[in-house]
């Protein structure tokens, strides 16, 4: 078999080679997809150093489990799931070390949702696409990790409610509640921002 040209090889070819223990093939995969994995970690953690560490940790875990990768999804989807799970574990541990805030407690009982103002205008109106993406990202960083994660998993990763519930170890009802609250809060933040910018 001719040696694999790492630059021109497809992801699938690199994965096959890496599964046989070729670290150079795996390095090429890391190089190709590190930004995506890092970005997902950052979207969840909102901290550059932690995101860098956890994204690297995800690549190490990916190497360990590479033989289990069955190609029923793309390699990046598979790696993204790994980094999401690592981030969730990390955030759960971090949360356990913190005292629950009043907001979190109220949120679980539904009080926060009930107190949220009704969104009466289109929160994304009159915003350029690039500006909108930046503002959404900024708004996301103001959400609690549970709300941010539920939005990321649903909107960016395209997971269904039951899949999110499984990943986040909660009920589908909690997913619906968190998703609704997260959207409403994000919409309010965007509207406020829009108002302040337009005077």
């Amino acid at each position: 078999m001719p040696p694999l040209n790492l630059k021109t090889a497809t992801d699938d070819e690199l994965v096959r080679s890496a599964q046989q223990g070729t670290t150079t093939a795996y390095e090429e995969l890391v190089f190709r997809h590190r930004d995506k994995i890092y970005a997902r970690a950052f979207s969840m953690l909102r901290n550059e150093d932690e995101s860098l560490d956890l994204s690297q940790e995800a690549w190490i875990k990916g190497w360990q489990r590479l033989k289990q990768f069955k190609r029923d999804a793309s390699f990046t989807t598979w790696m993204t799931r790994i980094v999401i799970n690592l981030c969730l574990d990390y955030l759960r541990k971090k949360q356990r070390q913190q005292t629950d805030s009043l907001e979190r407690m109220e949120e679980e009982t539904g009080n926060v949702e009930r107190r949220m103002p009704v969104v009466e205008v289109n929160p994304t109106a009159r915003m350029e696409r690039e500006e909108l993406l930046v503002e959404i990202s900024r708004g996301m960083s103001k959400l609690s990790y549970e709300h941010r994660t539920v939005l990321i998993l649903h909107e960016y990763e395209g997971l269904e409610y039951k899949e999110i519930a499984k990943a986040m170890h909660c009920s589908i009802g909690t997913v619906m509640s968190r998703l609704f609250y997260a959207r409403r809060r994000l919409a309010s933040l965007l509207i406020a921002l829009n108002k302040s910018k337009r005077g």
């Binding site: 970005a39 289109n122 909108l132 959207r183």
Partner: protein, 192 residues
């Protein structure tokens, strides 16, 4: 609009409802201006989020980013080889040392509770005769006094056997007097 209907509306927009529930919500929305407004902003936010994502990129060079990953991968690969060697050693021990140890224990047990005719019985029914067994080779239990509740703790009785010479007929060459043998505590039954 109550909470339940808000969640239903959201689930409808997210495509999470079955066809009958979906039709029901669609009909309700069409007749409810508040629901229409709610559905509008939910849709616009959803579509904005799905249009893309602001993605930061790794600022480290390829080498800097890869180096710690590579180090850990090498360590993992070394660790993966190490347990294989350890398991081979364990397998070898199980195959040879454990039976040998068991055999040694059996021999020790026979030496301890062997027949009183002076012969030493080995597993398989073989006997050794005329051999001399030095006291040092005997198990500690044969030279130490077994604890007997009736005896004084301050003066433990000691066996006088220091070595036993056994001739070819299995008769001890330096037997103890019969009365002493009778009064000597039994290893099996110290009260005897």
């Amino acid at each position: 609009m109550n909470e339940e209907m808000q969640y239903k509306l959201q689930a409808w927009i997210d495509g999470e409802l079955n066809s009958s529930d979906s039709a029901e919500v669609a009909e309700w929305v069409s007749k409810n201006p508040e629901a229409i407004q709610e559905a509008q902003w939910l849709r616009s936010l959803r579509s904005a989020m799905r249009s893309g994502e602001s993605c930061p990129t790794v600022t480290e060079s390829r080498e800097t980013y890869w180096a710690p990953i590579e180090r850990r991968i090498e360590l993992l690969d070394e660790e993966a080889v190490l347990p294989a060697n350890v398991s081979l050693w364990r397998e070898w021990c199980r195959q040879w040392l454990v039976p040998a140890g068991g055999l040694a224990m059996l021999v020790a047990a026979f030496l301890t509770v062997g027949p009183d005719d002076g012969s030493v019985q080995l597993p398989g029914g073989r006997e050794t005769r005329g051999s001399s067994i030095p006291a040092a080779a005997l198990p500690a239990a044969m030279t130490e006094t077994p604890s007997a509740p009736s005896e004084s703790e301050s003066e433990p009785r000691k066996l006088r056997i220091t070595s036993v010479q056994i001739n070819g007929d299995g008769v001890p060459q330096n037997p103890l007097p019969q009365d002493e043998l009778r009064s000597a505590p039994s290893i099996e039954n110290p009260d005897r």
